[in-house]
């Protein structure tokens, strides 16, 4: 049953990817890539990775699609016809690369093999020892926040840096002054849209802290909660107008909180060092799981702050850019 489901999902993904290659309407392509991400979510759940599916659903399928559509609004919807001259070269390169990779897989352990090197190297340590060392059931959160906390700090900084990049690229004079936006969804015309959004946004706002604080026991954590809260704010901006969103969360506040999130993460590491332990070694805050709990809460909060603000900032930047 599971393998049938897997084959079906992979076939659907293949069909979507090939359709994307032949479509020239960018709006359709953006929607298809969102559907591609959602189908991958189902596959991630099937592959025992609910944390990843969660993240892909809010970030890959949600925020990415909205950003792509916001960019398409600025660059034009239709692709130029006849730009297919390189397709023979592309086909040859893709086929040769694909065959080389298939040849490479012949030596790989078979799918689901419990004795594969990937599953016998550090994974058994995480599975057997994390309960005692970190004290929380969700191993993904333990590894993310504690065993590989240094790595996660790097990723948070990358997200922050990307936001800086977008602010620099799209922060110039061409941004439309606030307060002169296109009309938001009109009260008389978009009743369904406004009603659904009014119901959905408060629920989403409650979901985000739940995912944040329950991330130790179930799939979730700072990245997912941040993307959910960011998504709720983006939905608010989409339905009620970008000016309303700007009034609720001004950009300068988002910028400060995004930076504070990174500071909180890095600061936690510096504090552990000042207390005589290694960088991001949470045992500085107390022996055993109690110290880990303090450290994990701090860094997850930092991730949450940065991801929420960066997602919202990115949308705001694209949305207030004037149409060419």
């Amino acid at each position: 049953m599971e393998s049938l489901l897997m084959i079906g999902l992979l076939a659907a993904l293949g069909a979507i990817a090939i359709t994307v290659a032949f479509m020239s309407d960018l709006l359709v392509v953006a929607m298809l890539s969102g559907i591609f991400s959602f189908t991958c979510c189902a596959l991630f759940v099937l592959f025992d990775a609910p944390d990843v599916a969660f993240t892909e659903a809010c970030v890959g399928a949600g925020v990415s699609t909205v950003l792509t559509i916001a960019a398409i609004r600025l660059v034009g919807r239709h692709e130029k016809r006849g730009g297919r001259r390189a397709s023979v070269v592309g086909l040859v390169v893709a086929t040769v690369c694909g065959l080389a990779l298939v040849y490479g897989t012949l030596e790989l352990p078979r799918f689901g093999d419990p004795a594969s090197p990937a599953s016998t190297h550090v994974a058994p340590h995480y599975i057997e020892e994390s309960k005692g060392e970190i004290g929380i059931p969700n191993i993904v959160t333990s590894v993310l926040g504690s065993y590989r906390g240094y790595d996660t700090m790097g990723e948070t900084v990358v997200v922050f840096t990307a936001a800086l990049g977008v602010l620099i690229l799209l922060g110039g004079a061409q941004s439309r002054p606030l307060g002169r936006g296109e009309a938001p969804a009109r009260r008389d015309r978009d009743v369904i849209l406004r009603t659904v959004a009014t119901l959905f946004i408060p629920m989403t706002l409650f979901l985000a802290p739940y995912v944040q604080f329950h991330g130790a026991y179930s799939p979730g954590g700072g990245f997912q909660a941040g993307a959910i809260l960011g998504g709720a704010l983006i939905l608010y901006g989409l339905v009620f107008g970008i000016d309303a969103l700007n009034k609720m969360v001004p950009e300068r506040i988002l910028r400060v909180i995004a930076a504070l999130g990174v500071l909180l993460y890095g600061g936690t590491g510096v504090v552990t060092m000042l207390m005589g332990h290694a960088f991001l070694d949470y045992y500085a805050f107390g022996a055993g799981p109690s110290g880990q709990a303090i450290g994990l809460t701090a860094i997850e909060l930092g991730v949450f702050m940065t991801v929420t603000c960066v997602m919202t900032l990115l949308f705001q930047r694209f949305a207030i850019r004037g149409v060419m």
């Binding site: 993240t55 960019a71 130029k80 936001a163 990245f223």
Partner: protein, 140 residues
């Protein structure tokens, strides 16, 4: 033969990756290239997660009921990579928007002549005025 059935998921994912690569190479539109790159990227994520699957395992959340868990490490690596992926996508889209504003097109074949050595690319605020002349010619 039965031995090779266990490799099928990897091959399907490789096919998805190569479709993404094909879109990046063959399509001239910069936003379309970015979407192709996104498909390539998500396929790589699927490959990583597929490597971590253990037969008969459950998601890596400890509970007394279960004894076999799938590998938690790929999940950790990929869930952070997804968030980084959207951030880099946003930078790519922002660059496309700026290219469109400066040159009036985001089609590769129209952009290549504009960036030839005889036609220096000026960046910064003064680029807006400098490239206005070129913009008229390239606009369809």
């Amino acid at each position: 033969m039965k031995d090779l059935v266990g490799l099928f998921p990897y091959w399907a994912v490789i096919m998805l990756m190569m479709t993404g690569l094909y879109i990046v190479i063959a399509q001239g539109n910069l936003v379309k290239k970015l979407i192709g790159l996104g498909i390539f990227q998500v396929s790589v994520f699927v490959l990583y997660i597929a490597v971590g699957v253990v037969d008969g395992g459950t998601p890596p959340i400890l509970d007394d009921e279960f004894a076999v868990y799938s590998n938690p490490l790929p999940s950790v690596l990929i869930l952070t990579a997804i968030v980084v992926g959207v951030a880099t996508l946003a930078v790519g889209l922002a660059l496309s928007v700026r290219i469109r504003e400066a040159f009036g097109t985001i089609e590769e074949e129209d952009l290549l002549p504009l960036t030839a050595p005889t036609h220096p690319v000026v960046t910064g605020p003064e680029a807006e005025t400098d490239t206005n002349a070129g913009r008229e010619e390239t606009r369809p």
